[in-house]
Symmetry: C2
Subunit: 470 residues, 2 copies
Amino acid sequence: MLTKDDTICAISTPPGKGAIAVIRCSGPDAFSICNQIVRLSSDKGSLSAQSPNTIHFSKIIDGNEIIDQVVVTIFKSPHSYSGEDTIEISCHGSPYIQKKILELLVKSGARMANAGEFTMRAFLNGKLDLTQVEAIADLIASGSQAAHRVAMNQMRGGFTRELKKLREKLLHFTTLIELELDFSEEDVEFADRVQLKDLITEISGVLSNLSDSFALGNVIRQGIPVAIVGKTNAGKSTLLNLLLREEKAIVSDIAGTTRDSIEDVISIRGVHFRLTDTAGLRHTEDEIEKLGIERTWQKVDQASIIIQVIDPASNPAELLQLSEQIQESPGNEAKKRIVVLNKMDKVAEDQLDNLLINFKKKLPTGDLLIPMSAKKGTNLALLEQALLEATTSSMADENDVIITNVRHFEALEKALEAMLRVKSGLSNGLPDDLLAQDIRETLHYLGEITGEITNDQILDNIFKNFCIGK
Amino acid sequence: MLTKDDTICAISTPPGKGAIAVIRCSGPDAFSICNQIVRLSSDKGSLSAQSPNTIHFSKIIDGNEIIDQVVVTIFKSPHSYSGEDTIEISCHGSPYIQKKILELLVKSGARMANAGEFTMRAFLNGKLDLTQVEAIADLIASGSQAAHRVAMNQMRGGFTRELKKLREKLLHFTTLIELELDFSEEDVEFADRVQLKDLITEISGVLSNLSDSFALGNVIRQGIPVAIVGKTNAGKSTLLNLLLREEKAIVSDIAGTTRDSIEDVISIRGVHFRLTDTAGLRHTEDEIEKLGIERTWQKVDQASIIIQVIDPASNPAELLQLSEQIQESPGNEAKKRIVVLNKMDKVAEDQLDNLLINFKKKLPTGDLLIPMSAKKGTNLALLEQALLEATTSSMADENDVIITNVRHFEALEKALEAMLRVKSGLSNGLPDDLLAQDIRETLHYLGEITGEITNDQILDNIFKNFCIGK
C-alpha cells in the first residue's frame, strides 16, 4: 500500500444517487489516463495543456459513445490534496454513470483506490502529518459540534505543532549528550544540565496536560455515557424510547444524516449522549438475572450521568437506598444523577404535591428530581435540559487542544513515563548513557504521534478507518 | 417557484457521509453571500474578483471559527449550469459540515433550493429546453445502459432539434394562411398548398415514428415486464427467488446502488427485467383465489415475456393447454414464451431423455424449453441467456431516438391527430380558418414538448421528480 508509483481512482462523494458525483483520479499518469476518456472542446488541446486550478466543461466518451457531460478540474502536483497530478470529474450523480466512468478509468490504466489512499499519498508526499491524517477521518465521522471542533483543531496542526518544536529541542540535547559519551574519557559537558532539566519539565507538563485531556476527548468522540437505571417496571425502556423518538424527529430534518447501528445515541442541541438501558434492579436468586444486574452496575461505573427512574407508588426510601448503592461503587461520587419520578399520569392531582415533597425529602443533595410521564412524554424538555446542564463541563472550547485518539494517548503516556525517568535520573545522577536511552525513547514516541517515525502496522490501522475516495 | 430573483443553495452530492460533498449556491447574490463565509487567502481579494472557471483553496468561517478547509469553484453568468453566478463549495463529506455550511449560507441570505430548482433556472434562462430538463432527471435515475443511452440522447437535444425545425416551418405556413384569412375577400394564396401538404406529410411521419417508439421507450425506462406463470406448486416462487438471489450478488459489487422498493426488478448484463410472480393457475370455486387468477391473466397481458413453470410430474398436455389459454388472450401471440421444466433434480436419470422428448412434442413452435432445478439453481445461466435473447429487439441503439416520457407521448399523439386532420382537410377542401386552427393545435402541442409553450402545472409535475441540489 505504501506505493505511489501508479495512478488511482475512486468515487469521492457519498454513495448513491444525487444531483452530481465527483470521481477523483490521482497519480503520475492521471493526465494521460484521463485524456483517453475526457474530450475537451476541440480548441483546447490535451488535459495537461490546461492551467492548474481551472475547470473545463467536457464530455466523457467510451469509444464513440458519449457517457456524460461533465466538469473536469485540473490539479497539478504538488498543489493537490494528494500532492500528485489529480483530475476531478464532476458528473451527473446516477450510480450507472459513476460506475461507468470508474470502469473507463480502470480500463485506461488507473487502479481502484484503497480506503484512504489519496490521504495516504498526501502523507507520503509530506502534505500532512499523521495526526492530521487521523483528524481528517475524525472530521468526516464527527456528528457533533464538539467532535467537529476537536477534529478541525487537530487537522490544522493543533497539538503537534508544539510537540514537533519540543521534540526538535530534545533532539538537540540528545545529540549533545551522545557527543559527551563519545568523549566520555575527557569529562566534558556539552549539554547544559540546567537547560535540559527545564526543557524536560516543560515537555512533561505539555505531555501530562495532553494526556489528561484524553478522558474528555473520548467522551466528545463517542458521546457522553448515560445509564438509565431503576427497579423492574419503573418505565426505563419507555423513557429510552421517548428520548430516542424525539431524536428521530431531530435527525430527520437534517438531510443526509444516517443513524449509526448503535441504536441508542441521541443528540441534544449538538451534544451526543450514549444511552444505555439496564436490567431492572431487584433481589433475585435467578442466576441469569443476577448476571444482568451485575452488568447494570458495570454500566453505572462507565456512565458519566445516571438517570434513575422510579415509580411513584414505591417507597421514597428506596430512592435513597438505590442512590446509596450507586455511591458505594468507587468513583461514582462524581457522577451526575438525575432522578425521574415516572408515571405521574397515574397520580391523582390532589396527591401530587404531597408525593413530590415526600420524594424530595429523601433526595440526596445535588441530585435533581424531575416528575415525568414517559408514556405521555410529559416534561421531556426538562429532562433534556438537565442532561445538557450536567455536561457543560464536557463541551470543548473552540481553541481547546484535546486528545481524542487512543493511539496518541498511549504514545503520550509512554513518552511521559520516559521523560519522568529522565527527570528523576538527572536528580539522582544517573549515568549519561541511561539518560540518553530514555530521551531516545521519548523522541521515538513523540515521533510516532506525528508520523516522523512509523511502520506499516500503524498506517494500516489508521487507513482502514477511512472511506474509499478520501 | 418560477422566480429567479433570489439566491438558492443546496447540497448537490448524494446524501450521507463521504470523502467530499459539494454545496451549490446560485443566483444574483451568490458572490456577495458566499463572500461572508468563504475566506480566500489574503492576497486574493473577494470571490467576484476571481476569474471564472477557476478553483480556490479556502476556508469556511463562522465568525472566528473555522468550519472547514474547502475548494471553491467560481462560475460566472451565463457560463454555469443554471446560467447564473454560481459558487460550488467542495467540502469534507461529514454530514455535520454539510449541514453547517448550508446553515451559514441561509444565514447569509441564500434560500434552500426546492427540488430541481437549479435546473428550473437553467430552463428559465434558456440553457435547456423542457425535454432536456426531463432527460436530466431520467439520466440520474437511469440504472441500465439502455435507459442511460436514451436519456443521454434526449439531453443532447435528441428528438427535439428536429421537432423545433419542423415547428418553425409549420409556423411559417400558419402565418401565411392567417394572412390569407385577413385578405379573404381578395382570394389570394400566400401559402403554397403543395409545399404545405409535403411538410405535413413529413411532420406526420416524424410524429408517428416518435410516438411508435414509446412502447419500447417505456420498456427501457421501467424494465421489460416478465410474468412467471404456472400451476400451483410448480416452483414459481422458488424460481423468482433464484433470479433475485443472483441479482443481489450482481448489484452488491456496484458501489452505491440501492435496490428499488419494487423487489422484483433484476438486471442481466445491463438489461432490466421487471419480474412478476403470479397466483398459481388451477380450477377453483374460491372467490378470492378466482380474483388472484384473474389478476394473473392481467399480468400475462402486460408482460412482454412469459416464463411458464411446469412440474415434470404433470401431463405434458397441460403445457399445450396453458399455452393455448395464453394465446387466446388478444395481443398475446406476439409475446415470447419460455417454458421452464422445473424440479429436474427429482427426475431419475434414466427417465430424463424420455421426459424431455414427451414435453418437447407438446411444445408450441417458437417456444423454448429449459430443464431446470430452481431449488438447486441448475441451468439458471440458460434461463438468463434466453431472457436476454428474447429482448434483443428491446435494446436501444446508441443513436436511436426513443420517446420514454408519457408527457411527450401524449403531446405527440395530440399533435399527430391534429396534423392528420389538416391532411384530410387539405384533400377535402376544408376552409382555411379550420385548417389554421388545427395547425395552431399542432404548434401548441409541439411547443409543449420543448417547453416553448408551458404552464405552472406542467413545470410542477416535471420538477417534483428531481432531487434537491439539481
